[in-house]
């Protein structure tokens, strides 16, 4: 058995290295087998979402759940509160990490449009739905702050960058859901 990074000798069995790297990368074969399942899962999720339009807010909440960067406690946002703080919190932060995706002009334009109409759209929602959307956006905002803070300490961390971009994408999904629900006039 080939040990990598093992000590020459040990005094207890607990000192033996627990991790042994395989001689080859096993991921490609794993990915080949789970990749198909992954595609199926996403496709099935999309179908359900289209079929249950009134529950679209659940999809938004699930996307927020996907972020799951630890346990975030969303700021207290009561349904009756005007959406102005949200709009403010969702503005691009000065000095924030500008990843290629986030600084994409098309993304910026679409997000700006969605944010402009968010207030009116939220006002048209039933209080319960509005509260859920606002809580979701607040959670996303918290995630963004956490990630940007962590990236400030570790700017080259690819995982952090990926999670940050994913969080921006989650935000866009929530905003788009609100927008589409409003356009359809059927609520979220």
């Amino acid at each position: 058995m080939t040990e990598r990074g093992a000590k020459d000798s040990v005094m207890t069995l607990r000192d033996l290295p627990q991790a042994i790297e395989p001689a080859r990368d096993l991921w490609p074969q794993i990915e080949a087998r789970i990749g198909r399942n992954g595609v199926r899962a996403v496709a099935a999720g999309g179908a359900r979402r289209g079929a249950v339009a009134p529950l679209r807010w659940l999809a938004a909440a699930a996307m927020v759940g996907c972020v799951a960067v630890g346990v975030w406690i969303g700021r207290s946002m009561l349904p009756g509160v005007a959406p102005a703080p949200l709009a403010q919190s969702a503005r691009p932060e000065s000095g924030a990490l500008q990843t290629a995706w986030v600084s994409d002009p098309r993304y910026q334009r679409e997000r700006e449009q969605l944010m402009r109409s968010l207030g009116a759209q939220l006002a048209a929602l039933p209080p319960a739905s509005r509260a859920k959307v606002m809580a979701s956006l607040a959670t996303i905002q918290q995630a963004k702050q956490e990630l940007e803070g962590a990236l400030g300490r570790d700017p080259g961390n690819a995982l952090l960058q990926e999670l940050l971009v994913n969080t921006y994408q989650d935000e866009m999904r929530v905003l788009t859901d609100v927008h589409e629900a409003s356009d359809a006039g059927k609520g979220i």
């Binding site: 607990r14 627990q18 042994i20 790297e21 001689a23 990749g35 996907c66 960067v69 346990v71 956490e146």
Partner: protein, 187 residues
């Protein structure tokens, strides 16, 4: 929890990756694979003693984990969960390959302070690994899970699907055999 506490709290990246993987994100799952593959492969290799079989076990472990992600309790350790799957996979492969070794129920060790598996004198890693490799499967499994990976008797017994007393007996047997093969006291 206040906002300040949230900002100061460590970020649970593994939990975030598990959630993403649950949602179908294979890239997140790859990150989990990269993080855990060494320990999973190490366990599989020590249980199977065959690098190719250990690779197969490792792959199956992660594939099974992907399929069972919905059942994973995020409050528990993802690494431990993977190890449970890995042990099941390794045992299943072994059952296919050969008849099970007779269960040893005798010579149950006295209860009390659990040994830390200290060696009387330093022994080379390779020599110990070779000695472990020569142990009978049941004794080796118990030794690997308990003495190397730090699982309790109860946890190791659960993983192996045997009674706790059986697990202890196997450990007693493993110690005795190691002592003979390494020619040093194993305390």
């Amino acid at each position: 929890m206040t906002l300040a506490q949230v900002e100061d709290s460590p970020i649970d990246w593994e939990g975030a990756l598990v959630e993403r993987a649950r949602a179908g994100d294979t890239r997140a799952f790859e990150r989990l694979y990269r993080e855990h593959t060494g320990r999973v492969y190490g366990l599989c290799l020590r249980m199977t003693r065959e690098p190719h079989t250990a690779e197969d076990c490792t792959q199956e472990t992660f594939i099974n984990a992907w399929r069972a992600l919905a059942q994973f309790e995020t409050r528990s350790s993802f690494g431990t969960w993977l190890h449970r799957i890995a042990v099941n996979v390794a045992l299943a492969k072994r059952r296919k390959a050969a008849r099970d070794e007779p269960v040893v129920e005798a010579e149950v060790e006295e209860q009390g302070v659990e040994p830390v598996w200290t060696l009387e004198t330093p022994v080379e890693v390779q020599e110990i690994e070779d000695a472990i490799g020569t142990l009978p499967e049941g004794a080796r499994d118990a030794l690997v899970l308990h003495a190397l990976y730090g699982y309790s008797h109860t946890e190791a017994a659960q993983m192996l699907g045997v009674a706790e007393g059986t697990c202890k007996a196997q450990l007693h047997r493993a110690r005795k055999l190691l002592r003979e093969r390494l020619n040093v006291e194993v305390g």
